[in-house]
Amino acid sequence: MNSDRSNHELVDVGVHSDELLVNMGPQHPSTHGVLRLLLKTDGEIITNVDPVIGYLHRCAEKIGENLLPRQWIPYTDRLDYLSAMNMNLGWSLTVERFLDVQVSDKTKHLRIIMAELGRIASHLVAAGCYGLDLGSFTPFLYTFRERERILDLFEAACGSRMTCSYIVPGGVIADLPEGWLEQCEAFLDQFDPVINELHAVLTSNEIFVRRTAGVGVLSREAAIDYACSGPVLRGSGVDWDLRRDGQPPYTDMYDGYKFEIIVETGGSYPSDHDYPAVPRSAVLGDSWHRFYVRMLEVVQSMDIIRQAIVRYRSAEDPIGKPIKIREKLPVGECYLETEAPKGQMGFMVVGNGTATPWRVRARSSCFVNLAILGELCKGCLIADIPAIVGSLDIVLGEIDR
């Protein structure tokens, strides 16, 4: 048998076993939450996967119809609870866009610091848990140790580690405490070398490469047809990131920032660092590439935070104050997507002239990304399922809402 995984093909000798229905989850550790998969198998080979979701459905959209936009902020924390800052930001920007509220530059830089820290925290969880899924325990300890430091920073800024409710329509709930920026810089400095360790235990690890390279290949066309977003889309070679390609209230924030979209061009990724090269067995759009895009985005986010800290320090305008709690919403609707760590998170608010939204909608990136699972898993082995599910980096709080 050829050891090169991408050339590995299952030989069809016309012998099939009885179709077996295997239930995986909703309490299976490698389904990343309460996701249930109904697998149809022919021996070890998957013939069909039907994801069953909804176990964590909390009617978030319906609740939003009974609350004021600022009151719904804590509910956004509980969508993607691994990157609450980014969820707060998405909803706040949507409401601000609807009300045509402008925020000060200083607020924008502060929000960028928080959103990018949230991105790092989310990607660290993704990388660590991905290692666990594939039988490697060490990276999990490394990543959670670092994530803990980010959560400490969040706690210092807003008093909460995961459910932050920090960014609100109009601004943020409070400016940073004294010494916070120095702590943040200290974190970034000590985190730099840890990334090399993560690459050593995961990215270039022979077992990890064999488990992920060439597994769950998502073509560029399918990724767009299924409206995949975030690292899943970029891992398939599509040059698309809302921080550059989105709509004004969001892209305005990143005006003047220098960053390159993490996407493969000509067989390599944009990076100033000496990270492991793409292994020969990897195919564009496979699980390895999705993982690698996240790892590079961590470094990219650190760079953006460093830029934001400089700008925040030099900005002289005051921090934005939250909008009035009973601010009336106009008639009509407004939809906005932001680049959350796991993909494009969209919020829609429909107003009818009162302060309470008529309808609230959350378009979940993980919900959309998960829909390709059936397509990706057809013909793979049962053992590859955790490798593929983990590479999509889903969080069920956001899928089920």
């Binding site: 979701i53 459905h57 939809y335 378009r363």
Partner: protein, 176 residues
């Protein structure tokens, strides 16, 4: 391509199916006839000048005011709106397709309004349509596998309808 050109060009291709356009709104939208939505979406995706390759979201909004006092003040008749947020990665433009449906088919309560499925145009529509069916109660004709997605298969009613009342119990479990 700017939004005015998109709408003009679309109107030329489908003059009878276009109902109106709101170009000054926060998110510019066009309203089309319900039975033509799949055809128009097909044009919007396949025609190289539009090339709307991404469907972001399908959302339904229920316009119904169960409170009689408040209902007397609103300036609309009860209906359901379905919104399709689409964009093009190649041309970097976006638009919203709006469809207006009766709350019940033929005005008979309990019969869900119908809309052609666009899951044949964008495959991502599959799960979005299941969600709209589940939560807002719109039947998508031509959908390959239309069943509930977030609520349990045997759940009663469609929770995002404004006149929805929650069942008191589910399989002996108190829900209140």
């Amino acid at each position: 391509m700017n939004i005015q050109k998109i709408v003009d060009s679309l109107r030329q291709k489908h003059p009878l199916q276009m109902i109106g356009a709101e170009l000054d709104a926060v998110d510019p939208s066009v309203e089309v006839k319900p039975d033509s939505v799949a055809g128009i979406c097909r044009t919007l995706k396949d025609d190289p000048q539009f090339c709307f390759d991404t469907l972001h979201c399908i959302s339904a909004v229920d316009y119904c005011e169960p409170d009689e006092k408040k209902a007397a003040k609103v300036d609309w008749q009860p209906h359901i709106e379905v919104l399709y947020h689409i964009s093009s990665i190649r041309h970097r433009h976006r638009i919203v397709i709006r469809v207006r449906l009766p709350r019940w088919k033929d005005g008979i309560e309990g019969r869900l309004p119908e809309l052609p499925s666009v899951s044949g145009v964008w495959r991502t529509a599959d799960w979005h349509e299941r969600e709209v069916y589940d939560l807002s109660g719109v039947e998508f004709i031509g959908h390959p596998d239309l069943r509930r997605i977030l609520c349990a298969d045997d759940w009663l009613g469609h929770p995002l309808r404004k006149d929805y009342t929650q069942p008191h119990e589910y399989h002996g479990i108190n829900t209140r």
